[in-house]
Symmetry: C2
Subunit: 322 residues, 2 copies
């Protein structure tokens, strides 16, 4: 049998001659700015160009929605490239988006409405909070925009939830900000006339995760969703609802996982399995919609394979990137 | 609720403005040359230096074994950097290792004994086979060394298994190669006087995977190992034996997975669970020793979470590296 360093069982017991070939993991942070423009492609393109021309920035995805009149841009970079790119984005948006004439189904409080920072690799939540504060201060100074910090960057519990910060929307901001509870974290005490405010924060990656049930009874999916979601007594970092997959005639528990480290995929999967059994229903399958951090799936493998002392640094591809 | 492109459920249903920001996945191939030197650190260091001075090469790990008088070097690169680096390695080994005076427990047929290429990311097995052939030809021409291709690069079924190609070792090569069945794939028809032959090939990554049983009865582990390994009727790509963890007083099924795509981790885990149950024994835990390709664990998560239509390109970190 050929010996191999990949999977060599004596790996840590012997000497290694290459101690100095390892470097630090590059720091990767994601940002997902939401801008209040989804109908004029030329404005969205200008925003994307403004982000992408900063070296070290990768624009990963752009989703525009006409009904919402909103675009969601996903980009990756580090603590240096991200603030530079996002300041470029604010420049385009503040100049070309006027909320006084903006209409759309989605609630919004700013031309650049929301900017979360998300730790992906080699970066901590604390790094992302620091980044949110730095960008907030710079945006306030350069554009005279009030800035609110939210989620993990929030400076008070009542500012943590994005929905609470945005409640009243652009049209209600002047009134809302007269209440000292809603003094901004940076910038002037009244909204910008055309660009409103900016809501900047730090959060974990979201995972859109759906579990398909072996039943066409929507009521079962609704009851299970209620059982597992935080708002009705379930897991802390789960939002869920029951929906019908009309084509497949299957009921689905549609889930947003807002912190997969604290509420992991496998625990939600097992809870849904257990609740479904109570109705004599099985799990047909599950699906991850869009992107998922590798760690969320490694954690699931770790759980189901009952791994002992598994360390993500054992993943070959990670080692290669170090 | 904030909209996010990470996990956006409408991801593929809407327009994207950034079609040209994606590039090709960089091609990563691993090679794990085994050289017949484990006692003279200066020779091993010279071999590692020879590999590492080629741009684009990452030396990941070096394991030397005095008893075996053998070193296993793990490196990563692409189709350009790997042959250049490995030719440097042959140069050092052919000059400084003389098998006529070499002693060690491990069977060996060459100064550089075995060179497998392993597809890691963005590369196929066919790429690795082509690379094995190219290196084999270059080695034969430059060093007048006979080269045998093995595993997925083998040119005949009887040359596929490394153990068969190496049988008889250095000392038996001259005799063995008189049989036309053992004409080399490249190079002269007789072994090099001091460096023997080289065995070059392509194979899947190995995974060293152990499953710990809730019993101190070694016999149970041995029976399960026999049930799952290929040589006694089990899975095609599994080698296994029963061993005793003396400190923990647990019996262990110690496994080498030689092709995790065709015989996946979860299938072996479930087979061991089922066999153990027959003795009233549970699985206490399992462990991965050394490195593991991310895909092996993603496949396990996919299985246990019953994912539908999951594509590894949904993994955020992969997308970032494209």
């Amino acid at each position: 049998m050929e010996k191999s360093a990949v999977g060599c069982k004596a790996k840590n017991a012997r000497g290694c001659f290459c101690g100095d070939t390892y470097g630090a993991m590059p720091r990767i942070i994601e940002s997902v700015p939401n801008i209040s423009e989804g109908r004029r492609p030329e404005v969205v393109q200008a925003a994307v160009d403004a982000l992408g021309r900063v070296p070290g920035i990768r624009v990963l995805d752009v989703q525009s929605d006409r009904d919402h009149n909103r675009s969601v841009i996903s980009l990756a970079g580090d603590e240096t490239s991200l603030p530079a790119a996002l300041l470029n984005l604010f420049e385009v948006a503040v100049e070309r988006i006027d909320l006084r004439s903006h209409q759309g189904e989605h609630p919004r409080a700013g031309a650049v409405d929301v900017v979360p920072f998300v730790p992906i690799e080699g970066a901590t939540m604390a790094d992302c909070v620091a980044l949110a504060r730095r960008l907030g201060q710079a945006v306030a100074e350069r554009f005279s925009l009030p800035v609110f910090l939210y989620e993990d960057a929030a400076t008070a519990p009542h500012r943590r939830n994005l929905e609470d910060v945005r409640r009243g929307q652009f049209e209600g901001l002047a009134d809302k900000m007269r209440d000292p509870q809603w003094n901004p974290d940076f910038g002037p005490a009244a909204p910008h006339p055309s660009a409103g405010v900016a809501i900047i924060g730090a959060r974990m990656p979201l995972i859109a995760y759906n579990i398909n049930l072996g039943t066409s009874d929507l009521e079962v999916a609704k009851r299970i969703a209620k059982a597992i979601r935080h708002s009705s007594g379930g897991f802390r970092h789960v939002k869920a609802m029951g929906v019908m997959l009309e084509q497949r005639k299957l009921a689905q528990v549609s889930i947003n996982m807002t912190d997969f480290k604290k509420t992991p995929l496998h625990r939600v999967f097992e809870a849904v399995r257990s609740e479904a059994e109570r109705y004599g229903v099985g799990i047909v399958g599950s699906e991850i919609v869009g992107l998922v951090p590798a760690e969320a799936l490694l954690d699931a493998a770790d759980h189901f394979l009952r791994l002992e002392n598994f360390d993500p640094s054992q993943v070959l591809e990670r080692k290669l990137r170090q």
